[in-house]
Subunit: 220 residues, 2 copies
């Protein structure tokens, strides 16, 4: 069970703390934008301007990846981007299976940010006969019975759970049985998986609660 | 500009670290479930079973709220829940304005978890004439021109941005001008707001990247 996974490293690579992992994504987005603008070198101060994260934090976070900055010069944009992507397992596109063709699943299918970062929803499944056969964007919704067989061809390693709470554990079991190794779970419930499977929970209500907390703190 | 807000406390309350804020929400969900089951006392070990977060971490996190546990007995479920809710500004329901009536906005409108935690989407706005006048659940989509006037009556303090990247800053400006104090931003772009306004960014692609990172680490 690794619902709150920490990396298990046997290599001498330094363990990256959880909050840093989120910020590495932010740096990656920033570096991609700089590259699109033709910028080849960037200082931590400039990255701070772009990301809203302070420069000292950026230097500390990047140091987990390696000694990549040159004092007084900054980072090579392309090199830092490649190092970040390699460390994050983003060197090649990832196919993703989506389970749940309701409104959330539909929103996830049309969210342009996934494809931009190399994540492609390549098949959609739903247990409801009313939804099977419908189209979600360019994909036809398939029945849950087809999931394992279909993934023998597709070989996706990432699955997304966008089903009601009560159905989430059953879906997780199906995904793991079909060869999925990482799950992004949008159902507001803890799911149990065997050792070696990574689960990330996205609880949208929790985002509101955190917002409420910071608003309450700001007006103390 | 507080795109990555930290609490600003003038009272002697201890500052709660960002990762803890997310876990406090998890504890709150756990306590609500226990209360529904008629359970009145819970140990940190039992909460660890429910949440997947280890008991020592739970005790440390709860200590930010106050000295609430009794050694050998545990926590009073109702009391801990009320203390957490008060600290997180969750004592009363929050009305929420949603901007963006596309597929993501539609999914957010029908997400049951928000209302369960006391967050109610009470009005939906969109700049597209094709969407204005349509219904999203029980709400009629209103034009952006109506936002400020409508919020004089509704007095919502939380806004959600579910529009494309390029439109997000303009929407944030409208929300702040209409009296919104906290923004949940789903557009994958940094938005600028004045001092005193809290922004929380939800970047769904970043969740995939973090998942990819943990999967890459697990197979090292």
């Amino acid at each position: 069970m690794r619902a709150n996974p920490g990396p298990r490293l046997t290599s001498p690579i330094r363990r990256v703390p959880d909050p840093t992992v989120g910020r590495l994504s932010t740096y990656l987005h920033c570096l991609r934008a700089l590259e699109r603008d033709g910028i080849t070198t960037v200082s931590s101060a400039e990255m701070a301007d772009h990301t809203g994260i302070n420069a000292a934090q950026i230097r500390k976070d990047v140091s987990y990846i390696g000694e990549l900055g040159r004092p007084g010069v900054g980072y090579d944009v392309g090199h830092l981007k490649r190092c970040l992507m390699e460390r994050m397992g983003l060197g090649q596109p990832h196919g993703v299976l989506l389970v749940g063709a309701g409104s959330l699943g539909s929103a996830l299918c049309s969210y342009p940010g996934f494809a931009e970062q190399g994540f492609f929803i390549i098949a959609v499944f739903d247990s409801s006969p009313a939804k099977v056969g419908r189209r979600l964007g360019s994909l036809e919704v398939l029945s849950m019975e087809e999931l394992a067989r279909r993934n023998r061809d597709l070989r996706a390693r990432i699955g997304v759970i966008a089903v009601p709470r009560d159905a989430a554990q059953g879906v997780a079991d199906c995904l793991v049985a079909a060869g999925i190794r990482g799950i992004l779970n949008f159902a507001p419930v803890k799911i149990e998986v065997r050792e070696g499977i990574t689960v990330r929970n996205v609880d949208l209500a929790q985002e509101f609660e955190a917002l409420s907390y910071y608003m309450a703190s700001a007006t103390d």
